[in-house]
Amino acid sequence: MNNAAHEFLRSAAEKSADLTHRQIIRRGIDSYNTANERGRSRFLDWEAARLRCQEIKWEAVNSLDRYLLEFEQRVKDRGGHVFWAENSAEARKYITDLATARGVRKIVKSKSMVSEEIHLGPALEKLGIKVVETDLGEYIVQLREETPYHIVTPAMHLNRTQIAALFKEKLGDVDTDDPQQLVAAARRALRRDFFSAEMGISGANFLVADAGMIALTTNEGNGRLCTSVPPIHVVLSGIEKVIPRLQDLATLWPVLATAGTGQPITCYSTLAGGPRQPNEMDGPEEFHVVLVDNGRSELLANVEEREVLHCIRCGACINACPVFRTVGGHSYGTTYMGPIGSVLTPRLRGLNEFQHLSYASSLCGACSDVCPVKINLHHHLLHNRRDAVDASDRPWSERMGFAVWRWAVGDARRFRAVGWLARLGMRVMQRLHLDGTLLDPARPWNRNHATAPAPAKSFRALWGNQNGNN
């Protein structure tokens, strides 16, 4: 087992047993579910909205080159720059080179999961540049030196007491755990940073091709300040975020907000397409869009998996996932957690190293049910498993196990014999009270279950008796 899988199992076991943690997450998810249900009821036809969004993303992804070029041209027409980064290193280099060339000492950041994916923070810090996360949840986990727990609500694992203690320690001017006061403290602290930073970095929810603008949504207004005040605005986005037309947002914006937080629409739904124009009196002098591939073009080429690129990063699947609710966001050890993380990470970073994430699911299908763009997430988990097996990447014992299984179920008499033997073995184990011990091959099961005694006769034997073996 590799390190990533080992660490996942360790953390998952630890968190599964942590009842306090499970309760906190349960409350957070319940809160989301209530808001989300209310949000969906605001639609006349939520299912129609999903179908429309699925169609929009299908159009975008299946003509990705065309729409990216259209987007790029319009951005350049406004005097913006577009850089295409093949991988994390190239994306980091573009930004660090730019920051160095412009003498940037401080950067304010609005949420960008891609920035986590490419590990931008450490690269900038190494140059002595201070990076300030301005999304409150990201700000909190940054102060705690943690990674985001959830792509939409990064600090959902913390309660107000913990946050108050954190602010008291790091900001000083806080002596309460009242959320209102805590937010005010963050506003005070971050306001200084917004107005002194030389660069603002944001992600993008969508890249609008026909307008040549990025769409960025926040509730706090931090995204707007990052993209309005500092003299340089840099956008980091995966190449798959493109959508064909501005009016596609008429459906995507309400759907993203509903799926993400249950709101009808996010407070600030912004479009930015370039540096300040000649007739504009404020805004950044420079506008750079860094488009990141980092394995996405390979995923595009995999026709069966292509729809995974439709993801709009709403987080609904994460909220619906019973495994996430049990192990929490940090256990995954990856930028993207929950179902989308378990589907995407093996594809972007290697099936060999990350297949365990695709196996860590009961395949309940709740994720696929809630996905607003109708990605069949749990089917993709199955595909990941199949491809891991086809790559001969699975443990020898498992492959042998299924070879035996196939032999056993290939013939009714064999099956009867094997079943009889297995039941006999189970009854012996149970009689000798060995079930659940190290001698028990079914230990993982019997350790956690008090199973009833294995039956003496199978259904087919009893059926045969009942029906006189006709």
């Binding site: 179908l51 169609e55 093949e86 609500t153 914006w253 124009q277």
Partner: protein, 221 residues
């Protein structure tokens, strides 16, 4: 930046495009789409719906008779705020109404630059008002980027004929006016800033304005 410079500095661009084109030689079936099904119930009474949504998203919507009455309402709001400069969009309409505010405060006009960090309030017009969500559509033409986000109070002076039923209509309007090409920045604002990042408890007043006030005049002048 010249194209040649970009080509030299960004060899990855051609490689990415090549990979995308190769990948897309294989097609996937088009999904069915919504097939004409209506996603939102049509908005019948735009004014009533706008007011209802504003109440829900905590936008203070004050309906006035005309712009002069709106101007007097602005004066009332300003009187209630702590002392300090206000920032106003330099539009003909707001220039005309400015005397009505009768305020001793110093006014910075948008033509002089962006709002200062210390501004107590900003006053702007809007591109449109969206009834479905109770939103205000602004662009860089509405006093610049900072105008609708920097100060703790943002006051929007609008008229009822600016109401559109839903987002589709708002985008249609933008198309007509070429808003996306006249501006580098557009924002659809729905309520004042907020966050639920602490225990999922909604707290109003994060980094953007703490109050969003819409003065909606039934008639222009």
């Amino acid at each position: 930046m010249a194209t040649t410079e970009t080509q030299i500095e960004n060899p990855g661009r051609a490689r990415i495009l090549e990979r995308l084109r190769t990948a897309l030689r294989e097609t996937t079936p088009r999904p069915p789409g919504a097939e004409g099904r209506k996603i939102f119930a049509p908005v019948t009474d735009v004014l009533a719906r706008f007011q209802q949504e504003c109440a829900a998203n905590i936008t203070e919507c004050i309906v006035t008779q005309d712009l002069r009455s709106s101007a007097r309402a602005v004066a009332d709001v300003l009187a209630s705020l702590p002392p300090g400069e206000i920032f106003v969009q330099d539009s003909p309409a707001l220039r005309r109404l400015a005397p009505e505010w009768q305020t001793a405060r110093s006014i910075q006009w948008s033509s002089e630059g962006g709002p200062k960090e210390s501004a107590q309030a900003t006053i702007t017009t809007a591109e449109a008002l969206v009834a479905l969500t109770g939103s205000v559509l602004v662009s860089a033409s509405c006093g610049g980027r900072g105008a609708s986000v920097v100060a703790p109070v943002h006051i929007v002076v609008a008229t009822a004929d600016q109401l559109v039923p839903d987002l589709e209509a708002a985008f249609a309007l933008m198309r007509e006016r070429n808003t996306a090409f006249q501006n580098s920045y557009v924002c659809l604002i729905t309520g004042s800033s907020r966050t639920a990042d602490i225990e999922k408890i909604l707290v109003m007043g994060a980094h953007g304005p703490i109050r969003l006030i819409v003065l909606l005049a039934m008639r222009p002048e």
